[in-house]
Symmetry: D2
């Protein structure tokens, strides 16, 4: 479906869901921001005690559950975009363009995003 | 852009961004899950001391900054979907369908999603 | 018990708990940091759909459950202090002293901690 | 200081800090819960791109910064306990006792806390 589904279609479905339940009163930016953070924590819970390597080896049941948590994060993100009347695709494309400028491929090749303590000598 | 941008286009752009930097080694599920949670907290920070009502009244600068935080959440969600080879639109549509069954519009009308302590007598 | 319980006693109990289960292998800083964030989200969940005002009116059952979530946060914080061999009381007292300097009582009286968009004109 | 500092002393210092700034109006349970989650994310940020192993090898600067983030989490936890009039030591001791019953040392020896997908065959 990713090939044929636009952000607008998903935003519309979410707007209908919220309106039909008279939940606009709850879907305020403060509450939705909390909700995204809560769902993100539920996603993390699947990886809490795994090594980074183990987190790459997931069986089908895990994949399904993790997919649902990821969906919840996206769903609340759509609701936030609806409330703020944001063009989400444009906002994402703009941020990606900013990241491309901020992290030039030839400079950051194979290095983790930020300066980290562990890696502080690795430009030597 | 929401009208014409598919999830696949955004996923592809993110996959290119990660691959061109040789960052697949960092974008493991455990790390991406943490990253989504970190960005979600940065989004929350904008609303930390506001009342729910105040969080609805945002000026243009706030809207811009909040949009960027929301974009970061979506960007990492795309990266997670890429790693897990998930059809994100399908996963979101499935979860929305599940939520529609779980929260029938006529039953939950105007009530907040979950049973909460505060509202425990409000069905009386 | 707050009057007679030192941080050291709690840290010791937590260290014993982890060692007796051979869980030092899991209680690494990365994992404990995730765990604190996960417990913090579980705490937030109790307030997700409440107004700020409603969040002040909690019944006994809510208080009990919220207390348990708060305990989990403190418990993992003790475990982090154990792993890092931090004197937690000293670290907290130092940070409090820093906050006192950063937010002079006479200057920030009744104003929320950070500059926020909503309140940008309230020094006028 | 951990040997001689009680929870009550830290709670008192935090209560004074909040009251002297007339910040009780902001330190509501909903806002403090968000604040703990925000600080927890700032703590996680230090470990975001590290392997679990790398997260154990921290230099002095990292230790200092991480200590400050941990302090922030404890500080807001004290503020929550103050607001809710919770005996934090008692609450923590009760939760620890519950965890001891829930995870008997002989049964969970060397196994991560929860059943995880990765480890589902490891009792075989």
């Amino acid at each position: 479906m990713d090939n044929q589904t636009t952000l607008q279609e998903l935003k519309q479905k979410m707007a209908d869901f919220v309106r039909e339940r008279d939940w606009e009163q709850f879907h305020t930016p403060k509450n939705i921001a909390m909700s995204i953070a809560i769902e993100a924590a539920e996603l993390m819970e699947h990886f809490q005690w795994l090594t980074v390597e183990q987190s790459k080896q997931l069986d089908d049941e895990a994949l399904h559950d993790i997919g649902e948590e990821l969906a919840d994060i996206v769903i609340y993100s759509l609701s936030m975009a609806n409330f703020l009347k944001l063009d989400l695709a444009q906002t994402v494309l703009d941020k990606m363009a900013k990241n491309i400028r901020k992290y030039p491929a030839d400079k950051v090749q194979g290095k983790s995003h930020k300066y980290t303590y562990y890696q502080q000598n690795d430009d030597a």
